[in-house]
Amino acid sequence: MDLDLARQAQAGDESAFAEIVRRYSPRVFSVASRFFRQRPLVEEAAQEVFLKAYTQLGSFEGRGSLEGWLTRIATNTCLNMVRGAKRRPEFTVSDLTDDEQSWLEHQSAGDGGEPASVENTVVATDLADRLLSVLSPEDQQALLMIDGEQASIKEVAEATGWSESKVKVRAFRARRKVREAMEKLLSYKRAGSER
């Protein structure tokens, strides 16, 4: 089915390619959302993915799913887009907003069980971005896919084209760095509240 659709699109059938875009754009958006937080950037990346996919349709042999093939193109396209961007310097507790500090305090105090409000989700997402900024884009992806989306090592390897051992190393390293950054934040926060 996927292969037929790809072949029709490759032969110049616009409606077939439009169907591919319609069917798989949620998946491509989901991948791009891991890399970017602004809708225009996500849309730009997703469009780039489909344009690239169109030119590479001949390389899709139908061995895997079209969704998996597009996920790989999306991951690599987005990685290329973020690689050029400068990484922010590691932040300290003084950079935390009041909302972020209060979110951390609530979570540390064990109030994490309360229903997540939109505000709390935004604060937690901002905090995640700050923590992830200490990682390379590749390590970020490994961590977000495995710990965030519960993807297996094999799935990440397929989506990125990395070996399974490389994925394991990246995820281990990323997890440790993020944990250490969070530990540093918590220790600063504690020191600040004791003063």
Partner: protein, 159 residues
Amino acid sequence: MKDKHITEILDRASIGTLSESELNEIRAHALECMSCRDAFEAARLSAVVIKNRVEATFEPSPFFQTRVMAALREQQAVESVPAMLRLWRSAKVLVSTMAVTTAALAVVSFTQPSQTTPVIDQTASAYSAYSVIMEQDADDQMSYEQVLSTIYEDDDDAR
């Protein structure tokens, strides 16, 4: 259990995927070891923020498909034109403007008469100093004797 054992367990897998026995092991150790308790707390909070980050996704807008198809057609239109022609199209306005300007300058240069400033031939002027002094007709000049006689005639008349 040594400190590094706990952190190794924490870094090896997401907290959400740890087995109950591993979690119990961690909790038991964390009660005795302050640094491991901090590490466990940090790992737990990291897992929460990462979960939140992944859930923040965008859905494609209803116009996204149209946008991609339009971009695809535009790309195909660009690719169907040979490279030299594309180059010509982009440079056409500039080249045309330069050609028109050059042609206009050429026309102006060849058709307009020369407008050089006329040189006054001072030697030809009837009132030049040279002509007044040197080229006056001999007939108009008075001789020295005539001049003297004219002067003295005037003196005699005066007496």
